[in-house]
Symmetry: C2
Subunit: 254 residues, 2 copies
């Protein structure tokens, strides 16, 4: 049974791509068969796993707009057990192009049926538009990276409300997998305060594992590698390994 | 003559809102009459200047969708010389709702005509969609905040190409005001390297002023104040004051 998880938050720069790339890599290291879908026109998730953009490679845009089967847009990566469906800049136009398509929010769900993977991770763009809606409708769970900053906190209630609306109207199986605190710096008073507020408010919906701010994590994409491959022993990589085992443990309890 | 500047970058979390709020405040402190337009459904720019969301307040959404004149959506702030047009969560739906409107990319331009301000700053959402397009079509210049990180650098060429397309087809007066390096940390090797690359590549299109990473800047929004009001002497506030005088000097040369 494939488990499909969206990595979503409309606030920008909170660590969605970094979490999608490193969690997917950690799951592949734990011998799961993993697919990473890049649903952001920026294409950062593809870069993060070392995917080279080539004109002849099929992308998620071909699946969305040209009815190309998902399997022809799946590409291997240098990471054993991890495959990727890359995105492209033209995906930015999909929001407008999809408007007149019937059941425009179900396109990705249909494409991901019968995919043969243990896990599918979907990296979402920083918006609550049609692309993120497609991801939520296609998913079993949604994982929310949250930076411990004031503006990021402000958007959380809008995001949780949107997830609720999707659960009631479009996808009853969708669950909040959890909120993962990213770029945490315990020397920073604001960061400590935000963590305290979020745990008090959302209780066990917040993962125990926090991801520390760690410069090696931000260096890794320039080498086209996940932090776990770039520097296995660094604090960021070790945190994502712990997060993967927390996600697996949660699922075994269900 | 009003000067209209968009603060845009499709990469999330690079400091668009922080730059829009603090640059607008610095310009107001320099005795310019300033309007800040929040074009992001997250509504962070409104929060950054202490605007309280109230149901009866008109927003930019009313201007876009209900033909309400701009003047009725302009609200004063606690900062002398600075007014704000707030946004609202419903703006997230505007991308789809605007699709069938005639000249859908000119709506903001028409609304901003005859506004009586010296400067209008438009805070854009993290996407190259219809909202950001409206901002670019309405603007004289576009200011690009850039975080010195690898993923942020990756998106820069797409943004510059989009600005070029708008200049050629929709708004011939649009200029690149400049790229502003944000959250710069000279102890961080990657940050130093990205700054060197960007200056070598874009030369005088990069502002001399850089904005340092400064925790006081990220604390200020939780008090509903720009960094300049929250802690005038902090490194971040002083950098935005220098940036404002660099923008003014550039314009006096034209
Ligand atoms: N734990 C961390 N420590 C240090 N830097 C980090 C960490 N996590 C992410 N970053 C860096 O912070 C920036 C933002 O992260 P990322 O791009 O993953 O966020 P995002 O939510 O996917 O952004 P967008 O909204 O643009 O899609 C990136 O430059 C990334 O390298
Ligand atoms: N110079 C700085 N020093 C420290 N923190 C900063 C600085 N500039 C911005 N920040 C913080 O970094 C985060 C991202 O900044 P901001 O929200 O302004 O970016 P943005 O580009 O507007 O994001 P979005 O793409 O979501 O609109 C915020 O929490 C902000 O407080
Ligand atoms: Mg991303
Ligand atoms: Mg913003």
């Amino acid at each position: 049974m494939t488990r499909i998880l969206s990595i979503a938050n409309q606030k920008g720069g909170v660590g969605k791509t970094t979490t999608a790339v490193n969690l997917a890599t950690a799951m592949a290291a734990a011998k799961r068969k993993v697919l990473l879908v890049d649903l952001d026109p920026q294409g950062n998730a593809g870069t993060g796993v070392g995917h080279q953009k080539r004109a002849q490679n099929k992308t998620i845009y071909d699946v969305f707009r040209r009815g190309v089967p998902l399997v022809s847009a799946i590409h291997p990566t240098a990471i054993p057990g991890l495959s990727v469906v890359p995105s492209t800049e033209s995906l930015a136009g999909a929001e407008i192009e999809l408007v007149s398509v019937l059941e425009r929010e179900q396109v990705l769900k249909r494409a991901l049926q019968e995919n043969g993977f243990d896990y599918v991770f979907i990296d979402c763009p920083p918006a609550l538009g049609l692309l993120t809606l497609n991801a939520l409708v296609a998913s079993d769970g949604v994982l929310v990276p949250l930076q411990c900053e004031y503006y990021a906190l402000e958007g959380l209630s809008q995001l949780l409300r949107t997830i609720g609306i999707v659960q009631q109207n479009l996808n009853t199986r969708l669950q909040l997998e959890g909120v993962v605190l990213t770029m945490v710096d315990h020397r920073n008073r604001l960061s400590v305060q935000v963590e305290k507020d979020v745990r008090a408010h959302l209780k066990d919906k917040v993962f125990q594992t926090v991801i520390p701010r760690n410069v090696r994590v931000s260096e890794a994409p320039s080498f086209g590698k996940p932090a776990m491959i770039y520097d296995f022993r660094c604090a960021g990589a070790q945190a994502y390994i712990r997060l993967a085992s927390e996600v697996i443990r949660k699922e075994e309890k269900v």
